[in-house]
Amino acid sequence: MQIKCKINNKEYDFDAEPTQRALDIIRDFGITSIKEGCGEGECGACSIYFNGKLINSCLLLAPQMDGAEILTLDGLLQETQVIRDSFVKEGAVQCGFCTGGFVLRAYDYAKQGGSSEKEAIKDALDGNLCRCTGYQKIVDAIKKSMS
């Protein structure tokens, strides 16, 4: 079926099978900041903004994209500069696979006026998993980026 949507402020018009996932479609367009981690909505590595809300693109089907405005980290580089710098400075990156999702969630959290208390930041990261470096440095990086 024919799908029209906006990804990172650019118009896309494409044909897709109804069961194709947004995650695969967006990556096939060369937008590869989103990753497939678990593929079942738990790890947040595929997080995207879908009509202004952060969601998992592995659980979004192609027809749901029709008419939608989608943003990935690639489209928010300026807005996330401070957070990304903070991740680098704090060493909050090991393999980097989950990092895009964490940065996007950190941006989302700060934008919604989230508290910079450590416990609140940990709570806010309930939809993002990291399997190598652990969460301490990620939480520190987010906290410092908010001050």
Binding site: K53, L61, P63, R105, D126, G127
Partner: protein, 267 residues
């Protein structure tokens, strides 16, 4: 696969009439993974039915449109003030990314014995308004469930969940192996009001139901530990699964009921 995206309720009802087998689909956080390998070849995506996306409050009632996301419920001031048990359940629901798109109607219609929102709604005595070929009807939420993964819907769409407001105290606790993104081993939702106690919980029956024996016992006012255990054994029939055992679920449910009773103000 046929993927239909009706623009309003009339069109959606038309599609329901036309196709005998279909998935009603909205946020997709459960169904997106299922539709791919399913023999059901038709999806009716109702996400454009914006008339079902609302939360309204009158003097006596809060109505939650079926398309309200869990995030919307979590952030709603009236829910927080008048139905805090729903806020509590929403805050422990999956993760931020899932709450942002998963709907309350979907959580009910998916009809999982572990669904997070059903038990709190049951103890609030919620009703559901359904829309179908023959117009609208409103039934008790409890009457929607009729066995494991078996809804009494008759080619209908859940339009809203309606809750009458009354003074009450509440207890809600969800237990699982982790604090976040947790599929419950079990949960307990409990309300105490002038009408007495209402109890329900997830993951302890083939479908979520009220604990009527316990309610009767607790409303009598005097009860022993053995009587609670006896009533509980009539109200729950937990299975042993990879998520938990029958014994654990029974013991922890008992502990939570006692914890809840200690927390309520005594008359």
């Amino acid at each position: 696969m046929k993927y239909l995206k009706p623009k309003n309720i009339e069109e959606a009802i038309g599609f329901i009439k036309e196709y005998s087998e279909f998935y009603l689909f909205c946020g997709g956080t459960d169904l997106a993974l299922k539709v791919k390998n399913s023999s059901i070849d038709c999806v009716i995506d109702i996400s454009l039915l914006s008339e079902l996306d609302f939360i309204t409050k009158t003097d006596s009632m809060i109505k939650i449109g079926a398309l309200s996301t869990i995030s919307t419920i979590l952030e709603d001031e009236n829910i927080s003030k008048y139905l805090p048990i729903l806020k509590s359940a929403s805050s422990e629901f999956a993760s931020h990314q899932i709450r942002n798109i998963a709907t309350i109607g979907g959580n009910i219609a998916n009809d999982s014995p572990v669904a997070d929102m059903i038990a709190p709604l049951l103890v609030l005595d919620a009703s559901v308004t359904l829309i179908g070929f023959n117009g609208e009807r409103t039934i008790a939420l409890a009457d929607l469930f009729d066995g494991f993964k078996s809804l009494t819907l008759e080619n209908e769409i859940i339009a809203s969940i309606n809750i009458s407001l009354k003074e009450h105290e509440y207890y809600y606790r969800k237990v699982g192996v982790r604090a976040k993104l947790n599929i419950s081993k079990l949960s307990l939702a409990m309300i105490k009001s002038a009408d007495g106690f209402c109890l329900s919980g997830a993951s302890v029956n083939p479908y979520t139901m009220r604990f009527s024996n316990l309610e009767e016992l607790l409303n009598r006012g005097k009860f022993s530990n053995d009587e609670i255990l006896d009533a509980l054994s009539k109200d729950i029939s937990p299975s042993g699964s990879y998520r938990s055992t029958k014994e654990y679920r029974t013991q922890v449910m008992l502990n939570m009921i006692k914890e809840a009773l200690r927390g309520f103000k005594s008359e």
